[in-house]
């Protein structure tokens, strides 16, 4: 879902909520307003109705007075008419004539009943339809009153007037006007119901029988009772029932009823309208503020003024939004200022950087580059803007660059490559790249550093190293080569069995010094190789006792030469080490050699070994010169020796202990030196990983250690005649059939004829080196399975690996120990025998 859609959803949701709340609030408001308006309208309506009923009452009071006046006038008029006829003066007058007069006068429509009495109250004439009229209980002197016939019958308004009866004087004429429905019907105005009440009882109603039977008034009828006449003490009243519908015209009611929603609507309109107008103006100000902010992107007086209008005087959502905009404006301004400052700093940094900083898009096009990068590649800024990385990268193809750039998205990397400058020259560069996505687009931010000089220096250094290595190898080779004939010569002298003790002494002295010189050369080369990490351990399981045995063979003569007392303590159980036997032997030898050298003659040297957990602890203790406290911390440092060594009395290069420490470390062990001080002896302790049992069962060495040569044929290939001749002589003394070749080609020619069983071949030959010679030899049928031993003064690992890869069977370093050579020849002789036997 897109951001717009989310915003839209959120907006709808808020609108719906606001709408629902508004509807509920408005509904409640309208309901309450309607109810209160209706109540107010009802109150007003009833108040107006009461007022109008009061007006009606006033009107009916007048009408009743008028009616009384009419009745009074009618009574007096009829009295006059009667007196005019003089019918009453003659008592003998025919009743028929009287009735005829009354008929013609329409009397039965004027009043209900008429009674004429003389002054004594005797009835003279009784005419009418009210048969229940008896004595009229009017006090004398009253002209009008009320009469109600017996048994709660009809109610009459009665008027009494004196009437001339002739000779008997004045009598009185009493006229009865009935208060009946018709009277009230004629009195009543449309819609109004009049009811005549006598002592609270309804007598007649303008609504007829239905009006009399009505029990209870409804709320929509206003009721008002007025006294009919002043002289009746309120016994007879006229009740006015005025329905609201009759009090008001339909138009008035419609206007009144319509006024409710109109007034409500006006209230709503004014309430909501003013509120909405106010808020509308505030929202408009809010919009203006946003426009102002969008235009200037910083706080301004106009923005502040608009936000002030939007805030208004109340705390609500609009004011909150206004404040938020104000905060946002300030924050944006601050951020913009900071961003601009940061941008300027970054641009300054970028432009002032010595490194070539450039930005690439994902297609490899240059987006931006600093001056240093332009200078680095020899382009101007404008030219650089149109370049692609494939235009100046000389190491990878365009496809490779695309793949690498895609792989760098979201990552950082540092690598070296080659760039091509505008002039076509190449420079080595080291590039740090960060690939990142900004607003959906991928960019690579690269910092290029010209490393051409560094690369050149490295190349030079590597060359120097190579030359040094070559020199050292050559040095070792050249140093070892003279040792071979010396050692061979000494050995020959020994083999010749001369009894002269001094010759024997001289022979042993030569052999010893040759060995010492060879070890110094080895140590010197080893230190160099270790320092460069060029020594590889050839690990195998080896029993400690075997190592100690070999050690004793090599160190024994030295110990004896100084008449030291050697004490050896080994564990009863075998101790197996996982390591390079040559290097471990070297470690033990150097420790023992050190003890021998720095212990005065007749000293005591203890060699002890014991298991300690998963390690074997090997210590070499002497009671020799000891080590000063000052020297002790640097005792394992290269070329470090005690001051006395300056005398060169003890010899050595000061590299033996350094080799011990490095080789022990390579085996996962450690070494420590301890001394109580000068003249108090020293203890060197080595801890090496060890086991009580071997991983692979030991295979008993069934091969003969040094069986007689038995006519075994050995070819010596050596261009140094001193070496070849002494070696050949020594081997012949041991019973071997020896042939010498001084070149590779000579060897290749003689081998098919001589058919040697072992070839001892120097690598540095004159015509072709040993590697080439052995390769060609392996191509010969006679040389395919032949044991060819490389015997060289180049003791480095590289030469050894190369020799074995070229076809040599064994690799031995000059000067070769004759015992080792004899063992090797013996083993090869045994193999040859087994092959022949098979």
């Amino acid at each position: 879902m897109g951001r717009t859609e989310q915003v839209a959803l959120k907006s709808r949701s808020i609108t719906r909520q606001a709408g629902l709340r508004l509807i509920l609030s408005l509904g409640l408001f309208v309901l309450l307003l309607g109810m209160s308006s209706y109540e107010l309208y009802s109150l007003a309506l009833h108040k107006s109705a009461r007022e109008r009923t009061e007006d009606l009452a006033t009107f009916y009071r007048a009408r009743l007075m008028q009616q009384d006046r009419e009745w009074d006038l009618l009574t007096r008029d009829f009295k006059n008419r009667l007196e005019y006829t003089r019918l009453l003066e003659d008592r003998e007058t025919s009743v028929t004539n009287f009735h005829a007069f009354m008929t013609v006068q329409g009397i039965n429509r004027r009043f209900q009943h008429m009674l004429i009495q003389n002054r004594d109250g005797d009835r003279i004439f009784d005419f009418g339809n009210a048969p229940d009229v008896e004595e009229v209980p009017l006090p004398s002197g009253l002209e009008s009153g009320w009469y109600r016939s017996g048994g709660g019958g009809n109610l009459y308004r009665v008027f009494v007037v004196p009437i001339w009866l002739g000779a008997s004087g004045n009598g009185r004429m009493t006229v009865f006007y009935e208060i009946d429905n018709a009277l009230l019907f004629n009195l009543a105005t449309p819609g109004i119901v009049l009811t005549a009440m006598s002592r609270g009882n309804p007598i007649a109603s303008s609504a007829g029988q239905a009006g009399l039977e009505r029990v209870k008034q409804t709320a929509d009828v206003e009721e008002k009772a007025i006294p009919w006449s002043a002289n009746d003490a309120g016994n007879t009243t006229l009740r006015i029932d005025a329905p609201i519908k009759a009090l008001f015209t339909r138009t008035e009611l419609a206007l009144g009823a319509a006024a409710i929603p109109v007034v409500d609507g006006l209230i709503l309109w004014f309430t909501l309208g003013f509120w909405l107008m106010g808020n509308s103006r505030r929202i408009k100000s809010l919009g203006g503020a946003v426009e102002e902010f969008a235009a200037n992107n910083r706080p301004s007086a106009a923005l502040e003024e608009k936000l002030g209008h939007a805030c208004g005087r109340q705390m609500d959502e609009i004011s909150e939004v206004a404040r938020a905009i104000e905060d946002m404006a300030e924050q944006t301004h601050r951020l913009r200022f900071q961003s601009e400052a940061l941008l300027r700093r970054n641009q300054t940094l970028m432009q002032s950087s010595m490194d070539g900083i450039h930005v690439l898009d994902i297609q490899g096009n240059i987006v931006e580059a600093n001056d240093a990068f332009c200078r680095m590649l020899g382009y101007t800024q404008e030219e650089m803007a149109g370049l692609n990385v494939a235009d100046f990268d000389a190491q990878w193809t365009a496809e490779e660059l695309q793949a690498r750039m895609k792989a760098l998205i979201g990552k950082s990397a540092k690598f070296e490559t080659v760039h091509r400058r505008q002039d076509g020259s190449l420079i080595d560069v080291e590039i740090s790249v960060n690939g990142m996505e900004i607003d959906g687009q991928c960019f690579l931010f690269a910092s290029s550093h010209d490393i051409t000089d560094r690369k050149h220096a490295e190349q030079m250094q590597r060359e120097a190293e190579r030359r040094k290595d070559e020199f050292l190898a050559m040095l070792a080779h050249e140093l070892r080569n003279p040792l071979v004939p010396i050692r061979n010569a000494a050995h020959i002298i020994g083999r010749l069995g001369l009894d002269e003790p001094r010759i024997k002494w001289a022979q042993e002295l030569i052999e010893g010094q040759v060995n010492h010189l060879a070890r110094m050369v080895d140590d010197l080369l080893d230190v160099s190789r270790i320092a460069r990490g060029k020594i590889t351990l050839h690990r195998e399981e080896i029993e400690l006792a075997e190592l100690v045995g070999q050690l004793m063979q090599s160190i024994g003569p030295l110990v004896e030469s100084k008449a030291h007392q050697l004490v050896i303590q080994l564990p009863e159980q075998p101790v197996w080490l996982q390591g390079d036997p040559v290097r471990l032997s070297q470690v033990l030898f150097n420790l023992m050699d050190n003890a021998v050298k720095y212990t005065p003659e007749g000293g005591r040297i203890e060699f002890a070994a014991r298991m300690s957990g998963q390690e074997v602890e090997i210590s070499v203790r002497d009671n020799g010169m000891g080590i000063t406290a000052t020297l002790l911390p640097q005792v394992f440092d290269l070329f470090q020796q005690d001051e006395r060594t300056l005398e060169r009395a003890k010899g050595g290069l000061g590299i033996g202990l350094t080799l011990v420490q490095r080789l022990v470390g390579m085996h996962g062990g450690r070494v420590a030196a301890h001394s109580e001080g000068a003249g108090r002896g020293s203890i060197f302790t080595v801890w090496l990983p060890a086991k009580a049992t071997p991983d692979k069962p030991a295979v008993p060495d069934t091969e003969g250690k040094s069986s007689p040569a038995g006519g075994m044929r050995v070819m010596v290939v050596e261009d140094d005649y001193a070496v070849s001749d002494s070696t050949a002589m020594l081997l012949e003394l041991e019973g071997y059939a020896v042939r010498v070749a001084d070149t590779g080609q000579s060897a290749l020619e003689q081998i098919p004829v001589f058919r040697p069983q072992v070839v001892l071949m120097d690598i540095g030959l004159k015509d072709m080196d040993g590697f080439e010679t052995v390769k060609r030899l392996r191509e010969l049928p006679e040389g395919r399975d032949l044991c060819v031993v490389a015997v060289t003064g180049y003791a480095d690992e590289k030469t050894r690996v190369l020799a074995l890869a070229s076809g040599f069977t064994h690799f031995m370093v000059k000067p070769v120990s004759f015992d080792m050579l004899r063992d090797l020849l013996a083993k090869e002789g045994e193999k040859e025998k087994r092959r022949d036997f098979a």
């Binding site: 009354m102 039965n108 339809n129 007829g208």
Partner: protein, 347 residues
């Protein structure tokens, strides 16, 4: 195994329930009050309106649960006025008079016929027998006619004017005085000489004739007279009420019609003597005149209480004739003021 079934006697509870129900119903019935109906009609004992007097006499009102109060008036106009002014719920008056009232804005509706024939007599004082031979001879005479208000005319008035016009007597050539419709009023006018002629009602006309006080100049029961008068067999006395009564109290109207029909049927089934007896007329002369009239006009009353379509047509014809020159009266349709849903209608 033997099981004894006990029989439950249901009679005692049944009786008890009946007695209890009776006990409940009795006070309710006794508490019921008779419904009051007021009817106004000329009289008493005007022959045209005798069925009204007879209703309480024969107990037809109580049979309907009604206490009928009769407001007797001197004429049909007053009776109609009582109806219109709510003094009465019903009125019995001449239907042409009711039509005249209706044409002048009065709320009146005919709901049942009472008379079958109009019983009017134009009678003249015996002293004038030598001078007045025919209607035209009434020029310059005083004529008593039951009159109404200025805006409407009674049936007598309409009939008198029609008779006068039929013989070429202009109304300005005679003096009309109110006559009323009671014996006292009509007889006093004749006997006192106040009027020379009176448009009289029965049985007063026959009684005066019998006494030798008058002679009949025109009698609607006489075919010779009716031949000269258009619509002479019009519907006279009719039970009338207001439209608000029909709307608001139709049950009352129904009961009133039913009471009237009972009275008419009672008269149809009984002799004139029974009618007079039932009315308890004690005055011998009055009794004699009533019997005389009842015997003289055997078809005075409607026998079934149904409106006659032909009679209604006659009535309309009569009214049109008597109200010439009155646009509102001429436009009045008789059917618009007839509601026959209770009385019914015959040919």
């Amino acid at each position: 195994m033997h099981i004894n079934f006990k029989k439950v006697n249901m009679e005692i509870p049944g009786r008890m329930l009946f007695a209890f129900a009776l006990m409940l119903v009795t006070p309710i019935a006794s508490a019921q009050e008779l419904e009051k109906i007021v009817i106004s009609a000329p009289g008493p004992r005007n022959i045209s309106y005798l069925p009204v007097d007879l209703i309480p006499a024969i107990g037809a009102d109580r049979e309907e649960g009604i206490a009928l109060k009769i407001l007797h008036t001197g004429g049909g106009a007053v009776a109609l006025n009582n109806l219109v002014t709510r003094n009465a719920d019903f009125a019995v008056a001449g239907f042409p008079a009711a039509m005249s009232l209706s044409a002048n804005g009065g709320d009146v509706v005919g709901i049942a016929p009472v008379d079958d024939a109009p019983l009017f007599v134009l009678m003249v004082r015996s002293e004038l027998q030598g001078q007045v031979k025919r209607i035209a001879d009434l020029r310059g005479k005083v004529i008593g006619v039951n009159t109404s208000t200025r805006n409407s005319k009674t049936t007598s008035q309409q009939l008198a004017e029609l008779l006068l016009k039929s013989d070429g007597v202009d109304l300005s050539m005679v003096r009309i005085v109110p006559a009323g419709q009671s014996w006292i009023e009509q007889s006093s006018l004749i006997n006192s000489g106040t009027a020379d002629a009176v448009m009289g009602d029965e049985p007063f006309a026959s009684r005066l004739l019998d006494e030798g006080k008058v002679f009949f100049l025109a009698n609607l029961a006489d075919p010779a007279t009716t031949r000269r008068i258009a619509g002479a067999n019009f519907l006279h006395a009719t039970l009338e009420t207001r439209s608000d009564m029909i709307r608001d109290e139709p049950k009352k109207v129904e009961k009133m019609v039913r009471m009237m029909v009972k009275s008419l049927r009672w008269i149809a089934k009984h002799r004139p003597e029974d009618v007079v007896d039932k009315l308890k007329v004690t005055d011998p002369e009055e009794r004699a005149s009533l019997l005389l009239a009842l015997r003289a006009y055997p078809r005075a009353y409607s026998r079934d209480g149904k409106f006659s379509a032909s009679q209604l047509k006659e009535t309309e014809r009569f009214f049109r004739k008597t109200s010439e020159g009155d646009a509102r009266a001429q436009s009045l349709e008789i059917e618009s003021i007839i509601d026959d849903r209770w009385a019914g209608r015959s040919k």
